[in-house]
């Protein structure tokens, strides 16, 4: 439990993309600002900073969460994975390829969040229908593509993984 006056810095220890990190942070620093500014991992985007757009999604202990709605100190002891981490360990290579081939990004602002949600869908496995994919993407805004291509790309990656491409 922590009572946190705004001014003091607090220690936080966590793993980010598999690497142990210890820092002092202001208690109201969001995890999004922490990874972007303190750790220079700028793949995670911040759009609305109120949980609406999904550009800031990261994995916290394996589950997608909005990094704009988690304070860095709340991630103490947690394992965080950003889109950089997923990319480096090759976890979303097929998904990224499908996004590229299907032109599922234009400006790319929403893409990190889309990839994190897409990864969560792929991890669940099976072959969810398009309705389910859209439902899972309901917290991810894209202002460019109109979603069709994104759903296509995720569907393609799902099919490939299930061996029925």
């Amino acid at each position: 439990m922590s009572a946190s006056p705004m001014s003091d810095f607090l220690p936080v220890t966590l793993t980010v993309n598999g690497t142990a990190v210890s820092r002092m942070v202001a208690p109201r620093t969001t995890l999004a600002d922490f990874v972007r500014t303190d750790l220079q991992l700028t793949g995670t985007h911040t759009g609305c900073e109120m949980g609406a757009c999904g550009a800031c999604l990261v994995l916290m202990n394996g589950e997608p969460v909005h990094s704009c709605l988690v304070f860095a100190i709340q991630a103490d002891g947690a394992a965080i994975e950003t889109v950089e981490g997923l990319t480096e360990r090759g976890a979303i290579e097929d998904l990224q390829r499908a996004f590229h081939e299907r032109n599922a990004l234009q400006c790319g602002f929403c893409t990190p969040g889309m990839l994190v949600t897409g990864h969560a869908i792929l991890e669940k496995g099976g072959l969810p229908d398009r309705e389910h994919i859209r439902d899972a993407l309901s917290g991810n805004y894209c202002r460019c593509t109109g979603y069709e291509a994104i759903v296509d790309a995720i569907e393609r990656a799902l099919r490939e993984r299930e061996g029925c491409a």
Binding site: S2, A3, P5, G51, G54, E63, V65, L69, S138, G139
Partner: protein, 273 residues
């Protein structure tokens, strides 16, 4: 828990508890709230866990929205929460948001607070005089105002377990999946075949708090669930509601939507064996 209360009270109420942060952090980001101190409840073990105690399911306040979707005890004993969960926000928010946070905040457009009413749940609160339990019917007072006093901690939700004669239905009308509903409702009915012995109906997004529908409930009690009964309940619902007139949804439209929704849910109750 005493420690959390002490931390809260030490700053003369210029504090907020934080559980999942999925409502509080946006409020801070928009500068709607600016407490000097945040007291994080998420490490308190007593606020965790889901367990059956006799005929009652104890749901710790920190139980996450996502658990309402997946926890077998919730699905079995408090199926209305399970039915409502897919409609609450989006997957990533459900991974952090807590049932206790939702019921503490008591947003009148929220699903879970209304289901507390429909299920006849009791809120367990830790405050100045230790623990107390408040029935849902006495808990919701006004807009964002509940039986929680400053410094009080909502510790658990006590939900009467459904039995073999219970039937339930939940639905909401929203513009987009995950958006707050224009109107939503849950029903828990005690039935003997097609005979409704009693029913609890709770609606949300129809006023400043979640509301019960005593008129519609009375129109159902002791009657066979047929077309006439459903029509009577729909008619009675009109007197149960006093929806606000806002620029997006006029009161008359909310009344209409509520009526349609109630009809649909009762139809469904009749169909499920």
């Amino acid at each position: 828990m005493e420690e959390a209360r002490a931390a809260f009270l030490a700053v003369d109420g210029d504090a907020s508890y934080i559980s999942g942060g999925q409502s509080l952090v946006p409020a801070l980001a928009m500068r709607l709230q600016a407490p000097a101190v945040l007291v994080d409840l998420s490490g308190i073990a007593d606020l965790r866990g889901v367990e059956l105690q006799g005929e009652t399911l104890r749901i710790g306040a920190l139980t996450r929205h996502a658990d309402a979707l997946t926890h077998p005890l919730i699905a079995r004993h408090a199926p209305l929460l399970n039915a409502a969960a897919p409609f609450v926000a989006h997957p990533a928010i459900r991974n952090r948001g807590t049932l206790g946070g939702s019921v503490s905040l008591a947003d009148p457009a929220s699903e879970f607070p209304a289901m507390m009413l429909a299920m006849g749940a009791q809120m367990e609160i830790f405050g100045e005089d230790g623990f107390r339990r408040v029935p849902a019917d006495d808990y919701f007072i006004d807009l964002y105002q509940t039986a929680l006093e400053p410094g009080d901690i909502l510790t658990a939700l006590y939900v009467p377990s459904v039995g073999p004669h219970h039937r339930w239905a939940f639905d909401e009308l929203a513009r987009r999946r995950g958006d707050y509903a224009m109107v939503g409702a849950g029903i828990l009915a005690h039935m003997d075949g097609a005979l409704v012995e009693s029913a609890r109906i709770a609606l949300f997004s129809v006023g400043s708090t979640p509301v019960r529908a005593p008129g519609a409930e009375a129109a159902l009690a002791g009657r066979l669930l047929d077309a006439k009964t459903i029509a009577d309940a729909q008619r009675a619902l009109d007197d149960d509601l006093d929806p606000p007139d806002d620029e997006h949804i006029p009161a008359a439209m909310r009344r209409h939507l509520a009526r349609v929704l109630l009809g649909r849910l009762l139809q469904r109750l009749g169909e499920t064996p």
